[in-house]
Symmetry: C2
């Protein structure tokens, strides 16, 4: 078998001819990121062939014959030495500020009686007697039936293993932690009363980019801590389609499964070790994620999510245990997975709408919009709920934008174009700018457009009067910060290409909203409220988003920002049977619309590819503001 | 931390002071057998301290201060070098002759309609349709409900993971393997119809000494193969009490669990690789073992089985999966564990009686006796069932007998004392003799007693006329084969001490039977039939067993040998719901009698410590034969 050596680490491995280079690297413990999922399109997996030869399906761009795209290479019969280049993903697990989040949870829970998911009951199991023919298990079971009134009892093997000691440690006095499910008491944990710890649960938001884990004290429903970090799947593809492509082979699907489960367990471990909570004391879990994420989390072949007719393998997962999923809490804890509605409207959305009147009894119709790597929206109220997804692309997360970055320290998050047509900005954390994040990009484009520095098709004024506009042949860009003042040592600028990408993204979202409303015979002005969820909304200037035509031209107070609605919904489903039932009910009520089969969509989209829109009448207030400025 | 080196292997390990030497050895991968379970009584764990010093709770016998009992040593603060001695356990996994066993199964199954444990049903799941909102799982579930008429369906995650491919491999045509349990269809496996394999089950007899695994084709209920081998727990203790002692610390309990599960998986793997059966195609399991073995197999703390009031943690294990137990078949296969009745009457007995009229509708009372490392017996019929256990000790398995061995190649299995008072014998496999097994020992003692070479108290005739009798002070022995002709190069002989051990063993069994009958106001002559189960019975000469007073003085045709009744019962419970229900019903009916609290037992036992018994009237036919010979 040929031997592959990876430089600079020197890791070596023998593999069968035909093995893909990326798989050989993984087996050798060498990280090669393939953000496009292995399609040979992003160029991020570039390696240099030091010696030997590889079979290349698709050659790398450029003149150097020794450069190759790792995702396009298979091992031949030769030994090969390959040099990999380091790619740094932004680090960033962090403790979240829980005040806002905890208060949202508390508000909902105060509003009514909420039956808990997990019960705790104290029992005294009588001591064994000679020759009565009852085992420890029999006596425990009889006492549980007596105290709970349930017909049958299920006790996990992990509890039975230690039962002789659990029943004798405190004279038969025990606390049982259990689920009350129909006629059954499903026991998760048995503790001697004298040594009983609390009981906890975790709520998880499994995002394509970011994963957030919250630890909740189930006695008080208080949030103990929330920690978030990047999804470790990112090196295998930035968006869900890339991840599906990556997962085509079983070993890679298992890799993705391990990465996202590993992310959750890592964040949880950070919380647990700080708060000194034993894994066995975490007796319930609730997870929300988009459909691709939940498929990958459970190790389910995701291929058909991207193939017609876009059929998920699974929408809801009953009877799922932490052991099944590999989540490092009490292995017998049951996991609730917020149900999905379709391939591209997942449990993050059904959990996300929980905080809005869309699921409730209030009159009127509202809209819920979650912009992440994908955009999902739900419209409805008491009488109907319709949902769809649109591919916004990663522009609002800084993707596809030359100087784009996520909302992290050093990101330009707010921009104003001053009267001298020069930019004023702030950065997250107040540091020298490293790049520009979604909210900054929107502010910037709105400012440039308002000032007439770009026109409604996003093209720069080429008259040459603005010193920040730099023209190079057909290329034009606007410099926000020069190389000498930036943290990167390079200009921070936005080009026409970047603006074009943002316009496509905002057109995708706006036109999806418009089309869905049209389908139910309504328009934006009929909306009671326009809810925005997801990290994207946190720093968003609503007026600027309206100016570029991302959001409809409604009064600013009609918009509301929900925070991480998926995590909030997931947390409510962790602690309350009623909220869990409300999620499932909304999922059942939600009609999934597949935009890609809607003939109108392309027309609506094309019409929205202007600032703010080709149809000026849709944005009367924007034009009123623009005219006021000009006057 | 002190470093411990083990010679001759050279394995080294650093451990904390206070660590027991046996645990250090295990951690270093060095095998030290402790057949007595770590009580310092058997002397088999002897090691030599080459350098350094150990804290010894109990010193080894003899004069050499460097010899120590490993099970009594803890590491101090010094580095230590220790030499271990090799102990060979008899190897011996072997394929069983299945003709007799298969015919016993077939006879029972022919006798009536037997509802199968596992169903196989062919379904055609309709293809996915755009926008109908149904996942693959939803469509599978709907079709199962339609075809089976069940109310709800449970599908394991392992099936869901591959569901998109399973449903598309053969146009939705699949074979499902499932359990029909009340209103639920519990799915174990889904296969595309075109690629469907058969479905198989395993039946296991988990003995203290020997484990037997049978692979059964569930389509035909045919026995594919049976393989048996020594329980890998043997190095941790020969009998159940030694194993309980060994298991006192969690790491050792886990060690024992791993060893017995490993034994089952090893035997199974040998069958599977030979018969080319995929582990996933094995969709059901049925296990029978004594109560200590099932506790250890499931990793349950066994300590209280040997402490008053002798309470098992568990008698029956509902809802047990192969995944839970670590058995290497389809992880979602359910395991049936034959229920135990008490700490010393286990599932091997409730399974064992299945083939006898004790569980049935026939009139009359019979007795079931299983002699293994422990002796268990059941008496009863249609109207009652009582069971007890007695500690026979290992004499009938060759234990505690100087030249004793198990029934393996080279064992003397049949002996006759000829008219010249010299022995004639056969060996298993016809090889030169290596030792003497249970049946040979019984033949030998019966022969010596019949010829007057030993008296009714088991003492040798010291007149000096028999050349085979060797007297050395208070010690006397009878040489069966001289060193020059044996396979071991040493004399094969039986001493008065050996005979005494056999007499204790036979007295324990006979007196238990007699006492149990007395408790129900019956005597041996009231028995319709006397069933003998277990490997011990295979080579047993009934008349000789009566002569020494092991079995009661009944006509020989009143006795019946059942073979491995536990494995047969376990197999029936694997394939038939009705047989499974019969086992559970017998277990519920069985009254467990604890002999150690019966005042009469010691009197009965003492009275039986003679050949054949102190009460001659109990053995009229034996004395008639003896007198006939003398005449």
């Amino acid at each position: 078998m040929p031997t592959i050596e990876f430089q600079p680490s020197g890791a070596r491995i023998d593999v069968a001819p035909g093995t893909e280079l990326v798989d050989a690297a993984r087996a050798a413990g060498v990280a090669i990121d393939i953000p496009c999922g292995g399609n040979g399109t992003c160029g991020k997996c570039l390696v240099r062939i030091v010696s030997g030869d590889l079979n290349q399906k698709k050659r790398a761009e450029g003149d150097d014959p020794r450069l190759a795209l790792a995702c396009q290479c298979a091992i031949g019969n030769d030994d090969v030495v390959v040099e990999t280049f380091e790619h740094h993903l932004p680090a960033g697990d962090r403790d979240e500020d829980i005040a806002e989040y905890a208060s949202a949870i508390a508000t909902v829970l105060r509003s009514g009686r909420h039956a808990p998911i997990v019960q705790r009951t104290a029992l005294t199991v009588p001591p064994p007697r000679p020759d009565d023919g009852h085992s420890d298990f029999d006596r425990l079971k009889a006492e549980i039936i007596k105290q709970t009134g349930k017909k049958s009892v299920i006790v996990p093997l992990a509890v039975i293993r230690a039962l002789p000691e659990l029943l004798r440690a405190d004279d038969g006095m025990v606390i049982i932690t259990w689920h009350d499910i129909e006629t059954r008491a499903i026991v998760i944990r048995v503790e001697p009363a004298a040594f009983a710890a609390g009981s906890y649960g975790i709520a998880v938001d499994v995002g394509t980019t970011t994963v957030a884990v919250a630890l909740v004290d189930l006695a008080t429903n208080a949030i103990v801590a929330v920690r978030s970090g990047y999804n470790d799947q990112i090196p295998c593809g930035l968006d869900v389609i890339s991840r599906i492509n990556y997962a085509r082979r079983p070993v890679r699907l298992e890799d993705l499964r391990g990465r996202v489960v590993g992310t959750i367990n890592r964040l949880l471990e950070e919380i647990r070790s700080k708060r000194r909570v034993d894994a066995d004391a975490i007796v319930a879990g609730s997870l929300a994620g988009n459909t691709v994420m939940t498929h990958l989390l459970l190790g389910i072949v995701p291929e058909h999510l991207r193939l017609e007719p876009y059929t998920p393998a699974l929408l809801a997962a009953p009877n799922l245990s932490a052991r099944d999923a590999g989540i490092a809490i009490n292995p017998d804890a049951r996991l609730f997975l917020s149900p999905a509605v379709g391939s591209y409207v997942g449990g993050d959305i059904t959990a996300g709408v929980l905080m809005t009147p869309l699921t409730g009894d209030a009159e009127g119709v509202s809209l819920f919009l979650d912009v992440g790597t994908n955009g999902e929206l739900v419209i409805g109220g008491r009488d109907f709920l319709i949902a769809c997804a649109c591919s916004a692309g990663p522009a609002f997360e800084g993707g596809g934008i030359d100087c784009g970055m996520r909302a992290a320290d050093g990101a330009i998050d707010r921009v104003r174009i001053a009267d001298d047509d020069l930019p004023e900005f702030t950065t997250i954390g107040g540091a020298s700018p490293r790049g520009i994040c979604g909210s900054g990009i929107i502010d910037l484009i709105a400012g440039l457009f308002s000032k007439g520095i770009i026109d409604s098709s996003g093209k720069f004024d080429r008259s040459g009067t603005n010193p920040r506009i730099r023209i190079d042949g057909r290329r034009a860009e606007y410099v926000i910060e020069s190389a000498s003042s930036s943290a990167t040592g390079a200009d921070i600028a936005i080009s026409e290409l970047d603006i074009d990408n943002v316009m496509r993204a905002k057109a995708a979202i706006y036109s999806a909203c418009a089309l869905m409303l049209k389908q139910v015979g309504m328009s934006f002005t009929d909306l009671e409220r326009f809810y925005i969820a997801g990290g994207f909304g946190r720093y968003l200037n609503i007026e600027n988003a309206i100016t570029i035509g991302l959001l409809p031209d409604l009064p600013v107070d009609r918009f509301a920002y929900l925070g991480n609605a998926s995590l909030i919904g997931s947390t409510l489903a962790l602690v309350s049977k009623d909220e869990r039932e409300r999620i499932s009910r909304s999922a059942r009520r939600m009609t999934y619309v597949n935009l890609s089969t809607e003939l109108d969509y392309m027309d609506q989209y094309t019409a929205a590819l202007f600032l703010p829109h080709t149809d000026r009448e849709r944005f009367p207030n924007v034009y009123a503001r623009l005219n006021a400025k000009k006057r």
